[in-house]
């Protein structure tokens, strides 16, 4: 059901949300694979994939309330935006659209049928199925997670914050040593620049049987015989939360990781941070978990030096 559920940070167990934003007037739809809280302006930013839009709500919204602003229309070039980030320093809203194969940067106050200020898209970017996005206004970078089915260019793409057009990333984390495959949401710790990524499992997202409403040519049913988002029963393909340093680049494993039964309950599709409390919130499937990990909110040592002992 399309909704934004709001829980107390201390929620634990089987609890109902404190409030819910849902209903026709909200203009929400399913496939909201990203959400951002604007700390400076106390707003929630959310993509609406099935209406090609990005919506902004008051952060204390509850029930069936209309959005404050909606970015939608022919000038936006949005098709199915999946994920969002907000840059309260530079007053910008970013969204990634796997259908447009692009990252769009809008003015934070954009409303209605408005063009993006910048668009990162094209062959040189390496972007394709862009499923996660965050922005670091301190280090002036945009980090996107994107997947390509042949295994090439599956990972994290780091662009200059002001990148525009068909430009290559300044850093790329991916490759066999990274075990990056089927991931989604990205979050950046503003203090350290550490990059957090939620990965559902280490098997590449499976091919869908249809392209639009037509059966995919050459599709083999055996490729569809397992639940795509779950790692149940496949312990060697379990998902995890991976953490990287802001300057990391290349085919490298994570600097820090949350794995095991605790994280696999969620499937780890989403990740959010509470730097003050040193908490990492992971969401996936039908639940979310909170991990207390102060070590993950400290700068990592340069590669080649001794890591913090385990």
């Amino acid at each position: 059901m399309p909704r934004i559920s709001v829980f107390a940070r201390s929620a634990n167990g089987n609890v109902a949300p404190k409030r819910v934003i849902e209903g026709q007037a909200t203009n929400l739809s399913r496939t909201m694979h990203g959400i951002a809280y604007d700390t400076a302006h106390d707003e929630i930013v959310i993509p609406v994939a099935l209406s090609g839009a990005v919506l902004v709500f008051k952060a204390d919204a509850s029930g069936e309330v209309p959005p404050l602003r909606a970015i939608q229309g022919t000038r936006t070039r949005l098709v199915r935006p999946h994920t969002v980030a907000v840059d309260p320093v530079n007053n910008e809203i970013l969204t990634a659209d796997p259908s447009s194969r692009a990252i769009f940067v809008f003015d934070r106050m954009a409303n209605g049928n408005v063009a993006a200020k910048r668009v990162i898209s094209g062959a040189q970017t390496g972007l394709l199925d862009i499923v996660g996005l965050d922005v670091d206004p301190i280090r002036n970078v945009i980090v996107a997670s994107s997947r390509k089915g042949n295994g090439d260019k599956v990972g994290l793409f780091v662009f200059d914050r002001l990148a525009n057009g068909d430009v290559p990333p300044k850093q790329f984390i991916g490759g066999p040593n990274s075990k990056l495959a089927h991931f989604r949401q990205v979050a950046i710790d503003p203090a350290t620049g550490n990059i957090f990524l939620a990965q559902q499992n280490t098997r590449m997202k499976q091919m869908e049987a249809y392209v639009l409403d037509k059966p995919r040519e050459g599709f083999q049913a055996k490729q569809q015989d397992e639940d795509d988002d779950s790692d149940e029963g496949r312990l060697d393909q379990m998902g995890f939360i991976a953490v990287y340093a802001p300057d990391d680049n290349g085919d490298i494993p994570p600097r820090a990781i949350i794995k095991g039964p605790g994280i696999r309950m969620a499937g780890a599709a989403g990740v959010a941070l509470n730097p003050k409390k040193k908490e990492i919130i992971t969401v996936g499937g039908n639940g979310f978990q909170t991990f207390l990990l102060p070590e993950f909110f400290r700068p990592f040592k340069k590669i080649g030096t001794t890591a913090i002992p385990r």
């Binding site: 559920s5 634990n12 094209g122």
Partner: protein, 436 residues
């Protein structure tokens, strides 16, 4: 069976509840200006249950993969239990299918990915869990985020559709129970929502959210069989279609639409960077609507008629059912927790003939309805509170249900997730935001 339902929920709950045990691997000392780990923990609830998680971790195979302690090398962290965990261990009803020939009612459960079968007369005034007679549940079933269920009383089969995670329809028999493989399966487009069976035509119709389409297949189609026809395009007015009823008597397909529309393009990691999809059309928000289509339509064909407008009160209509004897359409109106009943031939901005809504009804986030003209009852599956409620067929207003089916003890909370994939933290209110 009741004990089974409760025990399964309890096992999951134990595994999900938060904990205080912090792994030594990550408990390295912090800098002097940071709060200590003990201080951070002291501010939160403490619970020993996640020891279970640690013990489960110890039982994992350690020889390879990410479960191994050897990967990633020299990394911080590892197998770590959560401090807190929010999840609902009980089923949540969404789809409903009624078989008055064999006196069964079948529910789909989106939360635990299962199908629950009850006697048609099940339920009552008890606050306890209602005992299902069958429960199809487990990895062999291939059930994912299922939204609906359809029944074939003649062949004693029931159908469901994975709306997410494993794009397929699965078919089970009345003899199936537990962790069983489906009798057959049909691969479907991603985001398929409802399935409706046409016995006479030997066809099934499927709504597909993201492509704003109705796809029709032979009833017995399996594997990667292609649709025999598809209704799709701007003229169809299909917009985020959900509930569907195949009305063979009038040769019509009746569809509940949420009103979201965007131009779908190839989007997967296996599709090319750019594709020619013609002129760009931007997304749009439209009102919810009931659209009625010719059952033989194929391609971009306008609906025969549409129920839409302020007077209808439609608000995220989910499942629908049609009463061919009294010529009525019942709609599970999720957005305002009501059931709205329209004349089957209604057209335009029309009021429902009756509305079932209010605190006494105990209708909370309804996702499906079923009309029983044989026994003069109306069934409603609540996504919002672990119940299904049964009314007299013509109940209206703020009426009490005549009986309640519970999949969890009374007043059990419902988290309300459907494959949630993102989160944000609101630092001002100390809250966690989770969209579905």
């Amino acid at each position: 069976m009741r004990r089974t339902l409760m025990a399964a929920a309890a096992v999951l709950a134990i595994a999900l509840i938060g904990a205080n045990r912090f792994p030594a691997a990550v408990a390295a000392s912090g800098s002097a200006d940071e709060p200590s780990l003990d201080d951070l923990l002291a501010a939160d609830c403490i619970d020993d249950a996640a020891i279970e998680v640690q013990q489960a971790a110890a039982r994992l195979p350690q020889e390879g993969g990410v479960a191994s302690d050897n990967w990633p090398p020299n990394a911080v962290g590892g197998v770590i239990p959560p401090l807190r965990s929010v999840s609902d261990p009980f089923p949540t009803f969404d789809g409903i299918a009624l078989d008055t020939e064999n006196d069964r009612v079948i529910f789909s459960d989106e939360n635990r990915h299962s199908l629950l079968v009850y006697d048609r007369t099940a339920g009552g005034a008890s606050n306890d869990v209602t005992e299902p007679r069958q429960w199809v549940f487990g990895p062999k079933t291939l059930l994912g985020y299922i939204a609906v269920v359809e029944v074939d009383p003649k062949r004693k089969e029931f159908y469901t559709v994975n709306n997410d995670s494993g794009d397929r329809m699965t078919v089970f028999s009345y003899d199936d129970h537990g962790n069983v493989q489906p009798r057959r399966q049909l691969i479907l487009p991603h985001q398929s929502w409802d399935v409706s069976l046409a016995q006479g035509r030997d066809e099934i119709a499927i709504t597909v959210q993201q492509s704003n389409a109705i796809s029709l297949f032979k009833r017995s189609a399996t594997g990667t069989a292609a649709p025999i026809r598809t209704i799709r395009g701007l003229a169809t007015e299909l917009e985020d279609p959900h509930g569907l009823y195949f009305d063979e008597t009038h040769n019509e397909l009746i569809v509940a639409n949420h009103g979201n529309w965007t131009q779908i393009r190839p989007y997967s990691p296996y599709d090319p960077l750019t594709t020619d999809v013609g002129e760009y059309k931007s997304g749009a928000f439209h009102p919810s609507a009931i659209t009625v289509h010719a059952a033989d339509a194929n391609g971009d064909v306008p609906p025969l008629r549409t129920i839409e407008g302020d007077l209808t009160g439609l608000n995220w209509p989910m499942g629908i059912d049609v009463d061919l004897i009294h010529d009525e359409i019942a709609v599970a109106n999720y957005g305002d927790s009501s059931v709205r009943v329209f004349r089957r031939s209604g057209k335009g901005n029309v009021q429902p003939v009756r509305v079932l809504r209010g605190a006494l009804t105990q209708i909370v986030g309804p996702v499906s309805v079923a009309i029983d003209t044989k026994n003069e009852e109306l069934w409603v599956a609540n996504y919002g509170d672990h119940t299904a409620v049964v009314f007299p067929r013509t109940a209206s207003g703020n009426a009490r249900p005549k009986r309640i089916i519970r999949n969890a003890p009374k007043d059990t909370p419902t988290c309300g997730f459907t494959n949630a994939s993102a989160a944000a933290y609101d630092s001002k209110r100390d809250e966690i935001l989770v969209p579905n």
